[in-house]
């Protein structure tokens, strides 16, 4: 009888990109709500609903002495006795750091799942990259890609991930370059004991960045369909553990598994971060839409997240 789960070869990056595009096409242009003003203003396409440097008309206002004459809108000023200045809406690009867990455990895929966790994580990351770069955001990948605003951000990211340098990336994200007001999307299975994960997250939280955690889970990990005499092997460490009657441990395992997830979720909720779960037997679009909602601050996506976590 075949085993429940197996280790899968790493996903081909270009293939993952194609699938990511497909997923991204299902999601509307991503507009991140920039609630925080970043001091280092770089022109972008986000209307900040304030006057500033930009290309879109925002308002006419009376000329204040001292301003450059070049700003005066003569056509409007000719209508009456005042002199008006054309204000543009301030547009600013946002920096979003994306990170997919490259660890060995992500290669797991059970029979009930459609893809491996690694594949799903990559697809989600690239889809986000596609969405964000389409809407002019700057996307970066810690250790691999500096924040860049480009139409072809997803391709760049895919190229970077396909490079040999990507193989040397550590299992934990190197978030030294993350500045305040940046958004960080971490796609991982978060299977480390929650205290370790939370310690890492604390370090990031001190930087003031806003985190979005997306847990990719395999149904076998969540349901625990094992029974009988089973020897479990950790794909990362190779540690083996033999259970005489595996089904006896299902309940306890599920308890601790969900407790870990709840700990993460509570942590995120406290910091107003987002936390979502995507099971590999569900559609990737669900997670994408959920994350999209989180990035745009639309609470409607809560339901999807809740279902994904169930």
């Amino acid at each position: 009888m075949a085993t429940v789960g197996a280790r899968h070869s790493p996903e081909d990056r270009s293939d993952a990109l194609a699938r990511a595009r497909l997923r991204a096409a299902l999601v509307p242009d991503l507009l991140i709500e920039a609630r925080r003003i970043v001091t280092t203003v770089i022109a972008g396409w986000h209307g900040r609903r304030k006057r500033g440097i930009g290309e879109t008309f925002w308002q006419f206002r009376p000329y204040v002495a001292g301003e450059t004459l070049a700003k005066i809108d003569w056509r409007r000023s000719a209508r009456d006795d005042h002199t008006y200045v054309r204000d543009m809406e301030w547009e600013a690009a946002h920096t979003v750091w994306l990170w997919a867990d490259p660890s060995e455990s992500m290669l797991f895929k059970s029979r009930a799942a459609t893809v491996s966790k690694e594949s799903r994580a990559l697809v989600l990351t690239l889809a986000l990259a596609e969405l964000l770069s389409r809407s002019g955001e700057r996307i970066g990948y810690p250790g691999l890609l500096k924040p860049v605003a480009a139409r072809n951000g997803a391709e760049r990211l895919a190229m970077a991930l396909a490079s040999s340098h990507a193989l040397t990336l550590p299992d934990k994200p190197q978030l030294d370059m993350v500045k305040r007001y940046s958004d960080v999307v971490l796609v991982s299975d978060f299977l480390d004991p929650p205290e370790e994960t939370l310690a890492d997250l604390d370090a990031i939280a001190k930087r003031g960045a806003r985190m979005h955690l997306l847990e990719v889970a395999d149904p076998a990990e969540e349901v625990f369909p094992y029974a009988g005499r089973t020897e479990f092997e950790d794909p990362e460490t190779g540690v083996r553990l033999t259970a005489g009657r595996a089904e006896h441990w299902g309940e306890a395992y599920q308890t601790i598994y969900h407790a870990r997830r709840e700990a993460l979720r509570d942590y995120c909720r406290r910091l107003d971060w987002s936390f979502a779960v995507n099971r590999t037997d569900r559609l990737a679009s669900e997670a994408l839409v959920s994350l999209h909602g989180r990035l745009t601050g639309q609470p409607a996506a809560r339901q999807t997240t809740a279902r994904g976590a169930a």
Binding site: L191, P219, A227, T230, F232, E233, V239, L241, Y253, I256
Partner: protein, 949 residues
Amino acid sequence: MLGLPLSFAAPAILFGLAALPVIWWLLRLTPPKPRTEIFPPLRLLAQVMKHEETPARSPWWLTLLRLLMATLVILALARPVLNPVADIATGDGPLALLVDNGWSTGRDWDARMAQAAQLVEKAHEAGRTVALAFTVAPDNAQVALAKPTDLLPVLAAATPIAAKPDRVAAVNRLAAALADAPPASLAWLSDGLAASERDETLSAINALDLSEVLLFDAGIDDLRAIRGVDNTPTGFNVRVQGPDGLSTGADPVPVSAFDEKGRLLAETAALFEDGSAEATARFEVPFELRNDFATIRIAGQQQAGGVWLVDENSRRRRVGLLTGQAGDLDQPLLSPLYYIQRALQPFADLVEGKTGDLSVDVPALLEQGPAMIVMADIGVLPEAASQALAEWVEDGGTLVRFAGPRLAATAGDDPLLPVEMRLGERTLGGSLSWTEPQPVAAFPGNGPFGGLEAPREVTVNRQVLAEPGLDLAARTWANLADGTPLVTGAARGDGTLVLFHVTAEATWSNLPISGSFVEMLRRIANLSRNTGAIQPGNSGVEAEALAPYRILGADGELTTPPSHVRPLDAAASATPASYTHPAGLYGTADGFVARNVLVADDTLSPLGTPAFQAASTVFAYDSGEESDLRGPLFLIALALLALDTLAVLWINGRLRLFGKGRVGMRETGHVAAALALAVVAVALTVAMPALAQESDERPGDAEIVELLETTRLAYVKSGNPDTDDVSAAGLWGLTRYLESRTALEPAEPVGLDLETDELTFYPLIYFPIDITAPMPSEAAISRLDAFMQGGGTVLFDTRDQLTASFAGAASSPENERLRDILRGLNIPPLEPVPPDHVLTKAFYILDRFPGRYDGSPLWVEASATQETVEDRPVRSGDGVTPIMITGNDLAAAWALDESGRPVFPTMSSDPLQRIYAFRAGVNIMMYMLTGNYKADQVHVPALLERLGQ
């Protein structure tokens, strides 16, 4: 072994059981292999599973299961045998088999024969010769030493016979067979009975040169037999015999009585008194019922001794006939006994007085113990005869008297009359009387004639009259219409007196010539009972030999007599039942003598253990055959193996009937499949002879179906590719033409190899004669002939019209070849297609059949009727010609290339010739497929005209 009838053929292998502890140790150390699963959240799992002790050993019950399996395999390898045959391989001389096949062996004959067959087979294995003697055998039976395998059919054919065994004769036969042989082993398959000649048998056996004696004795404790019946006036007694030394408190023996057709009439039981081996079962039923008893059976005794055949019921009573005048005997047709004889003959032995002198005849008759004596008009009996008759009646005889002038004259003081008589007779309807002849009134229901239909046509002219008395009515068995008695009867002692108030001949009345007379006499005979034992031969009348009618099988059932049974004559009936005269019914269906196995003084004494001189052993008959236990043991081990597989599956968690979640459901499917596989495997093992349903499909069926689906034109492949191409193209062209012009849409033409291809699928085979091709073989021509005889048609095309026209038809090489071919065929007389032939009208109206050439006639079978009616437009011609011959090279004219253009030019400049060639082809095909149907179509105008259209 352990009290079980169990032995091992290879006991050395049992030492393998010593290895069981090792196996146990190994099994304990080898746990079932776990399933390895990759599990990323192992660290989480490790937190909850920290205190889990992983079982490193198999569960004890699994070990036990496997040990049991190993034990079973070891035991099976040791070839255990249940019910091993008695070991007779000790001697090396011949084996003498003495088999009792007498009356008591029918109940367990199969076991005896299985035992005998086993002994013979053992002897075969030991290479010993066998002499086989049955104790019930023909007197001239021969016994000789034979190969054991030759005796098995003899054993299979042997049957027990309802007769008493003659062991001395059988032992003597064995002695003759073993005369020159080394000391033999005697196996005596006895019936357990010590017959009367036990000592003689023993001494005869001891006289043999024996090395050992194996006595098989099943005991006779449950043997019950009937050794006699006694039909007393008040009841029917059955004497049941048990074995000597019957223990006290033996169960009552249920005894049942059946009539001739096997219907149960009565049941009773015989109770053995303490210490007595004999018991009596008494049927207390009315005598009419008793007289119907044909078979008395002891329930549960499937042997001949438990059955008693009764013959003295309604048939074969001895009836004495007496008449007063010797002169009556000289004129048989006028004898007063004539009608009585005719009436009684079917069911009674008739004994007549010989001398006419009553003082001699009566004692002579009485000596033979008749059941009934009929006296016709005897007035005065001699005193001694009268006395003897009276005593005989007192003892149970039935005396039937008929009136007559003499009786009427002397009736007053005759003691042997049921009622007091008046002197003289009464005349009814005479010339001096005013009374009418009297008919017979209905018989009283309570009398012996009750239920009989009174004869309406019988009238009585004269009768003797009884004195009126108080008991006259009670004694009257039949009345005349005016109330005077016709038949009276009375009991006298154990016997009966009956008087017919008319004569035995048809002078006083026409009663003796009516059917009722026979019935009445039969009723009276039913009442009577024989007063002495009858056996054939003691009648003194003649030495009659009774053919066997039904023979009692040793299983207690009546069967048709086997061929070895001889008619029973006087000499044979005096001896006990034997091979040639076993127990059964002898005679005919209307009357027979029963012959039973036991006689009145027979007892059933057990054989015990005779004092043999040779070493002797007593065995019981084995309850079952020797059976090899290997198969069952291996089967059980296999079942355990399946169980073990299931257990391992269960331990590994793959046997969950309700999995958790979707992943588990998939597992369940696999488990169900595995379970089904196991069940199927077990079922296959158990039901080995299950037969697979064979498909009746044969290779080549698909091709045949394809060929049959549509009509096809066919040609014979000559072997010359050029000719074959022309033929193929020609038939293809004709096919296209047929498709476009007619409703016939043939499929692709087929080239045939006469040697191999099946020809029957094609209505017409085109056979181009090619002299460059080899001559077809004999087999091919005979196949072609069979095709033509079976209704097919061959179109021979010599394609030589052009050359033949120059050189003359006879010398054309194609013609020569055609003649060679036709020499092997059954060819009917031929003629060129006459102008009124159906071929000229089958589709197109044609007067010639051109091909590439024109001018060669088309030869067909000559029509049977040469005289043609003038006004008939076409010949009727039943049947289709089996052969057509042309020289016009039809295929070349039909041949079309891929684009539909003709391949060959016609030899004539006439552009219509090709059209006509196609039309000829169409006509030929239509003629092939429709036969002479078109010949009838020509009548359509006449029919329409007649219909007034």
